[in-house]
């Protein structure tokens, strides 16, 4: 088909232009879409929040500030109640592949209404986060009263574990860690290298059940509908391909590189918690899952089923992508 129906799309995200999210996902994905649609659909990326603030991106996609947006669901809490299940503590994810696959398959199964106002193209995750600290955390008692940088749900998680959560932007964390305002941070290992936090922390406690962040790649519905059905099909194919080949494992690659750098170049010590110790931690964060279920029920959702779906999928894909 040779129609004149060309669509130029703006894509907004918050990572710096050197970040793998831009270099390995957004740019190649945009190129693949251009190729698949024979140049009828082009995507121009605006990294570093140059087009839209990180927490305004989803709304920005809806009201046309940008055509495509990539950001975190959790930046606008309450807006995506069902999807919070994929970030709940106490569910174990072996890596970002697992966590991303669980979320994407889970969304397809649950088909939550909250993301129907845009054309969701894919989701991806940071995968599990670890604790990196200035003093060793080998057991729960080491965490007692320890100031850890955390925002949102993670602050709650650290609170029930007995730590003292201190909220601040990731950009402030380096300075706070170096001065000792906080003694640690909870997040994907990537942060150690990307934000250079390995320079100001010494220990890394592996906690693959405490943390996960879910990112979306989504498009304005009107813009999507302006694309011809054949091109839509071609784009969907590119999306599935990029989800499997790039997005799912994007953070694993960064996390592995960052871990290697932190251990070999910066001399960080990696601490593994014993099975019993891990169970103790998981038990403590259970009430947060219960709270999620109760809140879901209050809002008229099938809280237990949603939680069960996430757990079932995590077991399935933990086995598959170990």
């Amino acid at each position: 088909s040779k129609d004149t129906n060309t669509v130029e799309l703006k894509l907004a995200h918050f990572w710096p232009s050197t970040h793998p999210a831009e270099k390995e996902l957004v740019e190649p994905w945009a190129a693949a879409i251009k190729e698949a649609t024979e140049g009828r659909v082009t995507v121009t990326s605006y990294p570093s929040q140059t087009l839209c603030q990180a927490d305004g991106i989803y709304e920005g996609v809806i009201n046309g500030i940008t055509d495509i947006g990539v950001s975190c669901f959790s930046y606008t809490r309450g807006r995506f109640p069902v999807l919070e299940v994929f970030e709940l503590p106490g569910i174990r994810y072996a890596n970002s592949k697992v966590a991303s696959k669980v979320a994407w398959e889970g969304i397809k199964e649950l088909n939550p209404k909250e993301v129907q106002d845009t054309k969701l193209m894919m989701v991806l995750t940071t995968g599990p986060g670890d604790l990196y600290t200035k003093v060793p955390v080998r057991q729960l008692s080491d965490l007692k009263g320890l100031e850890i940088r955390a925002t949102g749900l993670s602050a709650k998680t650290l609170d029930v574990l007995g730590a003292t959560p201190v909220a601040m932007a990731q950009s402030e964390a380096y300075e706070a860690l170096s001065k000792g305002v906080v003694k640690g941070n909870l997040g994907p290992v990537e942060v150690l290298q990307g934000w250079r936090q390995a320079e100001v922390t010494n220990y890394l406690t592996q906690t693959p059940f405490l943390y996960n962040t879910l990112f979306f790649v989504t498009m304005n519905l009107d813009k999507w509908n302006a694309i011809s059905p054949e091109d839509q099909k071609a784009i969907e194919k590119v999306n599935e391909e990029f989800f499997e080949k790039v997005a799912m494992g994007l953070w694993d690659k960064q996390n592995e590189a960052a871990l290697k750098w932190a251990v070999q170049e910066k001399g960080m010590e990696v601490i593994n918690l014993s099975e019993e110790e891990q169970d103790r931690w998981i038990n403590l964060v259970k009430p947060i899952q219960d709270e999620f279920v109760t809140k879901m029920k209050q809002q008229g959702f099938q809280g237990e089923e949603i939680l069960a779906t996430a757990k079932r999928l995590s077991e399935k894909y933990n086995a598959e992508y170990q």
């Binding site: 959790s74 930046y75 309450g78 807006r79 109640p81 949102g152 749900l153 003292t164």
Partner: protein, 187 residues
């Protein structure tokens, strides 16, 4: 006319005082959070978000009175050389353009507040609903528009009237004249 100006002034002054309270509260909140965290390991969860919400209220409620006092700075080197009458004409025109922008912007902010209420946006840790804060921000902007409107009417009147109406020419009035003339205060 002058009574309505007085009313707008009182309203903006009242909102400004509330804004002052907000900043006072921000200081108290941050300092108590630091003390509780350092002394008892018991920080106030959600301080981070509350500071942002209180700041948003404080800033937007202060906008109107700031505008009333002529606090939003402008380049006056060119216009100041014109006659009072021409200044009034220019003020009326720019005032009108500004209103054409700020009024719909305020309306969109109310719409945004409503949307966030429907979508259930809450702050990230303490999970406080955010929409009342956005409504208050919109309210601050509405008062700000009211001040702009009053200034616009004064400018129109000055533009249409004779120069002999000089007392009606808008006089920016500062909360503390000392700041504008520190020398006087010091001596």
């Amino acid at each position: 006319m002058d009574i309505s100006i007085k009313w707008v002034k009182e309203i903006s002054k009242g909102l400004d005082k509330l804004a002052g309270l907000c900043f006072f509260a921000v200081m108290l909140l941050v300092v108590s959070n630091i003390l509780l965290r350092a002394l008892f390991s018991r920080p106030i969860l959600g301080t981070y978000e509350l500071v942002g919400l209180l700041s948003a209220i404080g800033i937007s409620l202060a906008l109107a009175h700031c505008a009333f006092q002529g606090g939003h700075i402008a380049v006056d080197i060119v216009v100041n050389r014109l006659s009072t009458k021409w200044q009034a004409v220019i003020n009326a025109v720019t005032g009108f353009i500004a209103l054409c922008f700020w009024l719909p912007a305020t309306w969109y902010l109310f719409k945004y507040a409503h949307l966030m209420m429907v979508k259930g946006l809450v702050s990230s840790t303490a999970q406080i609903p955010v929409y009342p804060v956005i409504y208050l921000t919109a309210l601050g902007l509405a008062a700000f528009c009211l001040v702009l409107f009053v200034k616009f009417t004064v400018a129109v009147r000055n533009a249409l009237a004779d120069i002999s109406l000089a007392p009606y020419v808008w006089q920016p009035e500062l909360s503390d004249p000392v700041l504008s003339d520190p020398v006087k205060k010091a001596s």
